[in-house]
């Protein structure tokens, strides 16, 4: 770290211990857009005729969500996070997050979370689901969740990108993205993301898409500025 920010940081600590002052004196933001080039593969409509109670919830059949695009070539469901440069793993967020099975679909399709953050799994359908995440690093479990039963409260203690499936309904696919940082966001709508509250320093920002892979960008924050970082993924034909 350069001496000047170090001095400022020390002064900050004296004047404003982190526990007493909710906002840092110097905190920058990295924000931007995630887009794609080329033409994404056609997302196939899902045939839910084997599960009538779900089929009737969709006036037109929903499609697979491997690639969800927005206006102006925006790419949604890209998890953007600080993969290097943060001084610590950050606090486990206190707000509850929920993974819902509704219409035989996972909502949200991709759920980012902090290591050891508790999340709820809810079955909002009239059919049974089994919630079966398939981690390779974390521990695998498989739980039945009939309609009207209580939510499951779960958490993972290791960083990993975990695919989630339901064995009863093979078209259901989702992701748990467990991260060792509290600086993360997921691109939505117009592909926007925002990583606020970054103390001065050099960071590596990683953007992950379930099909198009990962990309990184290096960014340096010196004060309160907002740095613009954009990610462009190359669409795959299939």
């Amino acid at each position: 770290m350069r001496p000047k920010p170090m001095l400022l940081a020390l002064l900050t600590l004296l004047v404003c211990p982190s526990m007493m002052c909710p906002s840092l004196m110097f905190a920058g933001t990295v924000s931007g857009k995630v887009t794609y080039t080329g033409t994404p593969a056609h997302q196939k409509p899902i045939d839910m005729s084997k599960e009538p109670s779900c089929a009737k919830q969709h006036a037109t059949p929903i499609t697979t969500e491997t690639v969800v695009s927005g206006p102006d070539n925006a790419l949604e469901n890209v998890v953007v996070y600080v993969s290097a440069g943060a001084t610590d793993e950050g606090q486990v967020p206190s707000q509850a997050i929920t993974y819902t099975q509704k219409g035989c679909q996972y909502i949200p399709h991709v759920l980012p979370m902090h290591v050891n953050q508790e999340f709820d799994i809810v079955n909002d359908d009239q059919t049974s689901h089994n919630i079966h995440p398939l981690p390779k690093v974390n521990i695998e479990w498989n739980l039945s969740q009939p309609p009207g039963t209580a939510p499951y409260h779960k958490k993972y203690d290791k960083a990993e990108f975990i695919p989630v499936k339901c064995n009863i309904h093979p078209w259901m696919h989702g992701w748990f993205v467990v991260l060792k940082t509290s600086h993360y966001d997921i691109s939505k709508g117009a592909g926007d993301f925002k990583l606020p509250d970054l103390p001065p320093g050099k960071y590596t920002i990683t953007a992950w898409h379930e099909d198009y892979g990962t990309q990184t960008a290096d960014v340096t924050i010196t004060g309160n500025e907002t740095k613009d970082v954009n990610f462009t993924f190359k669409a795959k034909a299939y």
């Binding site: 049974s128 521990i139 479990w141 498989n142 009939p146 064995n167």
Partner: protein
């Protein structure tokens, strides 16, 4: 004449012998270089079964003689036989096991592993290893633990509590059938438990290999499950789930006494087995009466029933 034929014979045998070497040389040329093998660390793991303590180091030669062919030198299910096997051998490096008395996502007890080795896994290539002594089997249980770091810092799960089995009555079987419908077991297992439910053909295990649900109607009087053959074993199967497969745990969604009713119903799906449950069903003329719920819950939606059957 005999002399000439002797010479001829020797010459031909000599050629065959030489040809053998040539074929071997060619075959060795085609075998790709694998490079140096990574070292295998036999950690000093232990197992405790009853009053026997097993030691991993003592099972080294037994594992190499009997287990390596399928489970592989590094316990990663890459033994040379594995490519020919379905289902695949257990991958010990992940420490995910099907047959446990512990909750889903937890390690099995030493007794669970000990029992599996001795029982073998029916309808698979895992033999019934009842030729080992108890000590040898306990040593092998300890040896299995060297392959995954989970055994070093994670304790085995607590075995689930199984309440005493209630009497086998037609009411119990009737409730079991109602549960089978309500919990949608038929989606994979089919309305008669024959493994032909609507989702059955799409099932894959956690390594993406196709897998079939258990067919209760298959087999004769002695048909077994991979994880045992008693009513207690069936109870454990759906109350702990078969980790690594599509079969989930129902521990959070069935009351323990209701679970026994489901066990009794499942036994009647084993149509060729002489069981107390089938006797009771026979005494009721083979008809399972509709279940009368003393505390009725809201009715299940009409379109959520198995096609052509169920109640």
């Amino acid at each position: 004449m005999r002399f000439i034929s002797a010479i001829l014979f020797t010459a031909i045998m000599g050629l065959v012998f030489a040809a053998g070497f040539a074929v071997r040389a060619v075959a060795q040329q085609d075998v790709p270089e694998v490079g140096p093998l990574r070292p295998l660390v036999v950690k000093p793991m232990e197992s405790h079964i009853g009053n026997i303590t097993g030691h991993a180091a003592d099972a080294k030669y037994d594992y190499r003689r009997y287990c390596v062919g399928c489970h592989g030198v590094y316990g990663d299910a890459n033994g040379e036989n594995a490519v020919w096997l379905d289902p695949k051998p257990r991958d010990f490096t992940i420490a995910t096991f099907k047959c446990r008395s512990t909750l889903t996502g937890t390690l099995p007890t030493d007794q669970d592993l000990f029992n599996t080795i001795g029982r073998g896994l029916t309808n698979s290539n895992m033999p019934i290893w009842n030729t080992f002594t108890k000590q040898e089997r306990a040593d092998l249980v300890a040896y299995i633990k060297i392959f995954s770091p989970r055994w070093e810092h994670e304790k085995a799960g607590t075995p689930i509590t199984i309440p005493p089995e209630p009497p086998i009555t037609i009411e119990s079987i009737s409730h079991g059938k109602a549960l089978f419908t309500k919990l949608e077991c038929w989606k994979c297992h089919g309305p008669h438990g024959e493994g032909d439910g609507p989702s059955a053909s799409t099932l894959t295990d956690s390594k993406d290999n196709p897998i079939r649900p258990y067919d209760f109607a298959l087999g004769g009087n002695d048909s077994r499950f991979k994880c045992g053959s008693t009513n207690q074993d069936i109870y454990k199967i759906f109350m702990t789930g078969l980790d690594g497969t599509p079969m989930p745990s129902f521990a959070d969604v069935i009351q323990p006494n209701d679970a026994w009713d489901l066990v009794h119903f499942l036994r009647t799906l084993q149509v060729n087995r002489h069981s107390k449950e089938n006797e009771v069903l026979g005494a009721a003329h083979g008809v399972i009466p509709p279940y009368v719920d003393k505390n009725p819950a809201p009715a299940a939606p009409a379109d959520n029933k198995p096609p052509g059957g169920g109640q």
